[in-house]
């Protein structure tokens, strides 16, 4: 879950914000006694066609928090995080407390176990992050990446980042380490939880064969990216093009202070960081 620290919105909603050119997290990856300082960047681009909220005059708007009692807008330092223990009754928990609650050794990604890459069921996978070497750690980074990639191994660890514990699998591909955050076993439902039928009916072999035939005739070796296109966004971008060509419904405003909606080129950030300039 990508959350920014300053906004105090951690764990309060599902919205995903792309982190900026700065790494999402900086820390240490360890295997044995070897420590590899790394930076963590998201491996997924966020929505490439975000819509902005505008005033009737076409001015970009900002989202603000306000107090219902005073009807005044609140700054970041006027807000705290609270856990609801009773209706309308909260226990305040600070960033500092959340940080301090993590035992020191839990703040490193300590690869305590290595497993074969394909042995982890995909139900666990949540979100990917690239790890880039922090300055001075290039050699140890390359050593780990090459060893894992050659052996087809994934490394497993749990660690605490930004007020949440993560189970991660680290993969090496093309000399680059990638962390996939994973769901803990108690975050997954079992077929019994769902209430799937326990008794399997006897299945006629002819029916199984019929399906096998359907599968064989439609089998491909590779997943083609064309099958994974975001068609709805394509349609939106086409509509935008059409409208802007016709100059219908286009508004222009003067903007000086617009860094809020700035789109970050994640690819460029990653390239820079891998080149050791990030």
């Amino acid at each position: 879950m990508v959350k920014t620290r300053t906004s105090k919105r951690r764990s309060t909603e599902d919205s995903e914000e792309q982190s900026g050119p700065r790494p999402f997290w900086s820390g240490t990856l360890t295997f044995g006694l070897v420590s590899v300082p790394v930076n963590l960047f998201p491996a997924n681009r966020s929505n490439r066609a975000p819509l902005r909220m505008l005033s009737p005059e076409g001015e970009p708007l900002s989202r603000k928090y306000y107090s219902e009692k005073t009807e005044r807008d609140l700054d970041a330092d006027q807000m705290v995080r609270g856990y609801e223990i009773d209706k309308g009754k909260y226990v305040v928990v600070t960033d500092e407390e959340l940080d301090r609650l993590a035992p020191e050794k839990s703040r490193d990604i300590d690869l305590k176990s290595f497993v074969s890459e394909e042995s982890i069921p995909p139900v666990h996978f949540d979100r990917g992050y690239f790890l880039t070497p922090a300055s001075g750690s290039e050699k140890a980074y390359k050593l780990l990446a090459e060893t894992m990639e050659k052996g087809g191994k994934a490394g497993l660890a749990t660690f605490v980042m930004r007020g949440k514990e993560y189970l991660v699998a680290i993969f090496a591909e093309h000399g680059i380490l990638r962390a996939e955050t994973m769901r803990f076993p108690d975050e997954l439902r079992s077929p019994e939880d769902v209430g799937l039928p326990k008794k399997k009916p006897r299945v006629p072999a002819t029916t199984v064969h019929k399906f096998e035939k359907l599968i064989i005739t439609r089998s491909k070796k590779q997943l083609s990216p064309a099958r994974l296109k975001d068609e709805q966004t394509e349609r939106l971008l086409k509509l935008v093009k059409k409208k802007s060509a016709k100059r219908s419904n286009v508004v222009e405003v003067e903007t000086e202070k617009r860094d809020e909606g700035k789109v970050i080129d994640l690819m460029a950030v990653l390239k820079k960081s891998l080149a050791g300039k990030g």
Partner: protein, 261 residues
Amino acid sequence: MAARAIWKGELKIGSAKIPVKLYSGVVDRTVRFHILDDKHLMRVKQHMVNPDNGDEVANEEIQKGYEIEPGKFVIITEEDLASLEPEPSREIEIDEFVPPEAISQQWYERPYYLAPDGDEKAYFALVEALKNRNREGVAHWVMRNKPYVGALRAEGDYLLLFTLRNAEEVISARDLPKPAGRAPTQKELNMAKQLVALLEGEFNPADYKDEYRKRVMEFIERKAKGKAPRLQAVKTKRKPSSLDSVLQKSLQSLRKEKRAA
């Protein structure tokens, strides 16, 4: 108690159709916090304001725009958005099958269980066929006005349908340059290989528990009773030493551990 289905549909492979019900495969266990104003400890509200003058803009007056150039927006109306929505359908169309290793871990987003909704024989026959052929189906469907791409997979005796990320979302390591810096020596590679071999095991999910979540909840309960414990400040540490000697030491200590076990 059985969970509630979130959607009903029909798997379609060629002319074969299997009615199914969809259930979420995950449970959210994140500790949920609310944002409060620090004076009254009441939940805050949100609104949209014009940053120039701080004036609130009411929901019904807000328009949406796509920024084509800095400060230049194409207005997208609700009707526009509705016109972009796909045709509603109950079909989960599976038109391709690939070996499981063809789908990188990066693509998987969210798992759903599929339950048979009538034709149990066909459902379990498909499970068997997918297992016999070791294939995953590539699925397309529309659910609640949104188009999805997914992977259909047999897991145990049942079908799982995963939503997959879009091609534009996923960055592949293949498109990135290899990291800069000196390459490790053969000697270091040999030692690292031995080190990984010593730490090798099977993936056993039961080994992993979210201990921190428990700590946070215990802390909250104690704080609620006014008995919050004093917490130690976070220290920074770490001293660099040569890669070679650290690898050597790691191997020694791990071998010792193994012998003792």
